[in-house]
């Protein structure tokens, strides 16, 4: 087990679906050869097919302590990158610019489609990245020992020298957050912006987020926002806890989506989205989390101060991010069992 564990909490009530995080990550890390189709960070509409398509349904993770690998997603599941016919349209005159090939799937193919409940449309955005799991299935699956979890901060990385491109990690990851670089013959994934963290700078996806919905810090640092949200207030949950990988990216579930005529009613008594769907994503504990958040909302609406909601507002960087200096990492006293 790592001495410390970096973690991220994302408040889904604040996500605009603007993809600024996606582009911040893309520009910084995945604009090289063989990386066109990869988005280490993506934002998908839920309910929806996700990226890669149906990643949540194909398998992966552990079952009774045993790896349960899935098939490797196909190129079409990820959505093929395509070029536009600029030459033909812009410089020779003509109709609108179109992709050279008619696309059949893209990473954000069903954006804002969602689903219907009681005749009304609902959806929310789910930003996703590598979960830097405490029990990573990718690491367990690699016969080369190319994956490792950093002892000092729990970030999961792929040793590009050891990796032979076997892709057992891709089969094992239940979140399908490992990608194969065809040009290099190597697997690649989110590195939790460790070079930035080592300089005291927060992850690019968090830094650029206009919705200020990301909180970053050590999950075992009692002074961190992530520690408070996950361990003390207990208002954030990991995706698919039953997969057994113990993800370290947590989500504050959407608990109060607006709908005409529901003023003052709890989402539990008047669900604007099927709670079954939230249970599917986050496990049954999500109902308790929503109850806690509803109670905090009522507290705030009745004129009292809610520390939870004040923290979730995340007014500035200092509130949302607690990035210790590398040399002070060893001095932080873990508070694992609080």
């Amino acid at each position: 087990m790592s001495r410390h564990q970096y973690s991220m909490v994302l408040d889904l009530n604040k996500c605009l679906g603007c993809q600024t995080c996606t582009m911040a990550c893309k520009k910084l890390w995945t604009d090289g050869d063989g990386m066109d189709y990869m988005y280490w960070n993506n934002v998908e509409t839920r309910p929806g097919q996700g990226y890669p398509r149906n990643w949540d349904k194909v398998g992966g993770g552990f079952e009774n302590g045993q790896l349960r690998p899935s098939e490797i997603p196909s190129r079409e599941d990820y959505g093929q990158p395509f070029e536009y016919n600029y030459e033909e349209r812009l410089f020779q005159g003509g109709l609108q610019v179109m992709p050279n090939e008619p696309p059949v799937n893209t990473p954000n193919w069903d954006e804002d489609v969602g689903a219907l409940t009681l005749g009304e449309n609902y959806y929310f955005y789910l930003p996703r990245l590598c979960n830097h799991c405490t029990n990573p299935a990718c690491l367990a699956a690699c016969p080369r020992g190319a994956l490792y979890k950093r002892e000092e901060d729990g970030i999961v990385l792929i040793d590009q020298e050891r990796c032979e491109g076997y892709r057992y990690c891709m089969k094992a990851c239940p979140y399908k957050k490992i990608y194969f670089n065809e040009a290099l013959g190597k697997a690649q994934k989110c590195i939790f912006c460790y070079p930035r963290l080592e300089k005291g700078e927060v992850n690019a996806c968090a830094k650029q987020c206009p919705g200020r919905l990301r909180f970053v810090g050590l999950l075992d640092d009692p002074d961190s926002a992530v520690y408070k949200l996950v361990k003390v207030y207990k208002v954030a949950l990991g995706l698919f806890p039953e997969k057994g990988t113990e993800p370290n990216v947590f989500y504050v579930p959407p608990f109060n989506p607006p709908r005409k005529g529901n003023y003052g009613k709890s989402v539990l008594e008047d669900p604007r989205m099927p709670l079954d769907y939230l249970v599917y994503l986050f496990g049954p504990e999500v109902l308790d989390v929503i109850r806690r958040l509803e109670a905090e909302l009522q507290k705030a609406q009745s004129g009292s101060k809610s520390d939870v909601l004040q923290l979730l507002i995340g007014r500035d960087d200092a509130v949302r991010y607690q990035i210790p200096q590398l040399e002070t990492l060893v001095q932080i006293q873990p508070a694992r069992n609080a």
Binding site: Q66, L67, R68, P69, E71, I72, P73, S74, R75, Y78, P143, R144, G145, R162, E164, G165, Y166, R167, Y168, M170, Y179, F180, E182, G185
Partner: protein, 191 residues
Amino acid sequence: MTGLLLLAAVALDPNAGVWKAAPPTTVALHRTPPLYSTDPPAALEIAAVEVKLLREGGKTMARLEWRDASAEKTAGAPDGFADGVALMVPAKPVTGDLNPSLQMGDAAHPVLIYYYDAARGAALMEAAGRGTTRRTKERFPAQAAYEGGKWVVTMELPELAPGAPYSLAVWNGRQQDRDGRKYFSIWQRTP
């Protein structure tokens, strides 16, 4: 030009006439067991490799030929894997009937693996037990051709004396073979 250079230059061509006279040995292949209990056992699509060896000037030229219904020459899409073949020999001379472990040797009996991958070409690898295989920086002369449903790969190796152990592995990209998911032979002795 020495005999070796002449032979090597000629014999690296999989269709060179010098191979016609070389006596063939048929080496049977087996599948490794599935790595995960959820993986279905893979079909035995490739039954054997036909091996021909020529020696001259301190070198051994090897010609490996096997039937494969489809050629996978790139590790293309995220779920695509390339065909490949490897010839494993002990890194240190062996005595008597002793062979290194088939699972990449062991600490006392390291092995060298002459590996040809249709996507990345030839690479010399070394290992001293399962999970220790690593690429050396060295490459070796090799050529490959796929024609009429058959792969032929030629390799220039250090001399394998008569009676020297070697074993083979074949990866069938169509069956998503890579790493320990492959075809393998038991140890053979060179003629």
